[in-house]
Symmetry: C2
Subunit: 350 residues, 2 copies
């Protein structure tokens, strides 16, 4: 495939302080752009990062027909550039697309488009420890009309942002009992835009009470832990790691499933099963709850320092040899090409 | 409030065939635009209908933070221009805004902005019977960043489209048993963009089977009828009209509640209560199911000619004196200023 490249006339890279990167707030020089029109995806092209112009009746503004992915590019100490299980993102993008009635994107448009973009903007990939180039592939309805039906035109764009950590400081979570993230038979398993906006208000309420994230529970009984919206959730009771099964309400997280494989390899007993809130609270009270952590591309592995439930706060112990730290080290060592990759997850770009 | 008006240099109105209007696909000359920035809504202004330009990282593309309203302006035979219960839309916009963590808009920005826009584009309001000017107020996150949190900037826009009927032909519906529209504790009661995109794929599947719309049921048991996504649902069993109660899963439709008031005034017995699918199917089998219809701003009152459930199709009788037609005539007579408005619902613009 011949991907046309239109380069910037002057790079913005010297304006960026790579030692103090926030998450996803400065953007690289270029982006990949691909248009769906007349029933087909056109060949992607690389263009300078630039504004998008749309008719006010574009369906993205009205009907939330949008999906995205989150990925990272990692630079090793020799300047090699790596992706982590990119085909999983490509597949999930199309799973999300199908559910949201967006036309699926050919695999090669995604993979060749992404690797070409990274080659053009390779200098934007941070070398600092803990930083990476956050990659945001996204698709949205660009077709027009005030009729609640799928659009006839779409855009697929990949933009990238050199980024530091997603969370700063300790993460305390609130187990939610009133609001919900997703319905049975809904779109919770898709990375659909609307899944995120729906979480903002309950998360604001939780933040006002001193929590950073909400742990969502099932919408019918609020008895079972599901996910945290920006990450899947793991719970360690005694020496067993537990995470909920994926479903049509829960995102099939790539970090989540990698953590499960690594845990098995490290000899950590892990269970994939429904986790009741009652079990977590009882374990917290008895001291058997050793850890909770979130797992996701942006969050990597984020230890949770405590949780709130029905007006009571539960603190988690600070362990010297936590599973969270052990698993985080193992996965980031693979991602940054610092250790053997027995799973075949690394994908070399440069 | 002083709303600045920038007029088009030449109108597009002569290009429009007012005798053959589709729904929401041609747009009037002007739009109202209002920006939220630095913690406040700026004064709205009227500008030529024009493209919107956004950064690729604008949160509307990624997190579905968008809401809208649907309204109509009606022209009477003397050239008078009317809205129907516009304050209900204004209030609901802010109810939706709050749930989606979007800053609420002052009432006068909405009402003065809308009436000023209609004065500027009054020639775009169709005079043909059954046509009206569809009004689309919408709000979306225009602030930037790849962080799943509310934006710091928003746009509120009102665009208008001279429109004919929303549905053409008979409407057959499928009672959905696998997919769902909304969760308990979710955003189903809000006119949030993502509520609509999530319906597209199941609706495509239903269309492939010969239905125009899906009747959503509760996500937990699929035993109770909720709404049809683009409209609320009414069922007539014998001489009783029934519609489900509003909830956090069901939109508080303005047409729905007006229909209930009109029914009471017309001496039609109406019940607001949960309607089970089993009850509807049993009534269809026994011949007691006389009518089903949808009610909404776009759909007005749309008779349903039949429904599918678990592979069986049920046809509804064609009644000469249906409640649907009686109620539709009464509500449109009020909307178009053809009859007394004892409820005080009409709002004169010009």
């Amino acid at each position: 495939m011949n991907i046309a490249v239109e380069k910037v006339t002057s790079s913005k890279i010297n304006e960026v302080d790579f030692d103090n990167l926030a998450f996803g707030s400065v953007f690289s020089d270029h982006m990949l752009e691909c248009t769906y029109k007349n029933g087909a995806w056109e060949t992607p092209k690389i263009v300078p990062y630039q504004p998008i112009t749309l008719d006010p009746s574009s369906k993205i503004f009205h009907y939330g027909q949008s999906i995205f992915e989150g990925m990272k590019a990692y630079k090793d100490k020799d300047g090699g550039v790596w992706l982590f299980r990119p085909l999983e993102n490509q597949k999930r993008l199309n799973i999300s697309a199908k559910r949201m009635a967006i036309p699926e994107l050919p695999e090669e448009y995604f993979m060749e488009g992404l690797t070409s973009l990274l080659q053009v903007d390779k200098n934007w990939i941070p070398e600092n420890d803990g930083s990476s180039l956050y990659i945001r592939p996204f698709m949205f309805a660009s077709g027009n009309g005030f009729h609640a039906s799928p659009a006839d035109e779409y855009k697929f764009i990949i933009a990238t942002a050199p980024s530091g950590a997603y969370f700063s400081g300790k993460v305390r979570v609130l187990i939610e009992e009133k609001y919900s993230r997703s319905a049975n038979g809904g779109v919770g398993f898709a990375k659909a835009g609307g899944n995120y906006a729906g979480q903002f208000y309950p998360t604001q309420l939780a933040k006002a009470k001193g929590y950073q994230q909400v742990i969502w529970t099932d919408d019918n009984t609020h008895e079972y832990i599901e996910e945290a919206g920006a990450m899947n959730i793991f719970v360690r009771i005694n020496d067993t790691l537990i995470t909920g099964p994926t479903s049509d309400r829960i995102l099939d997280g790539i970090t989540r499933k990698s953590i499960l494989d690594i845990a098995a390899d490290e000899g950590i007993k892990a269970e994939v099963r429904k986790i009741s809130v009652a079990e977590v609270v009882a374990a917290a009270k008895s001291g058997e709850l050793k850890e909770m952590f979130g797992a996701g591309t942006a969050a990597v592995v984020s230890p949770i320092s405590g949780f709130g439930h029905q007006g009571t706060d539960y603190d988690l112990p600070e362990l010297e040899n936590s599973y969270a730290m052990q698993l985080k080290k193992r996965i980031t060592d693979i991602q940054y090409n610092r250790a053997e990759d027995k799973f075949g997850w690394r994908y070399r770009v440069i």
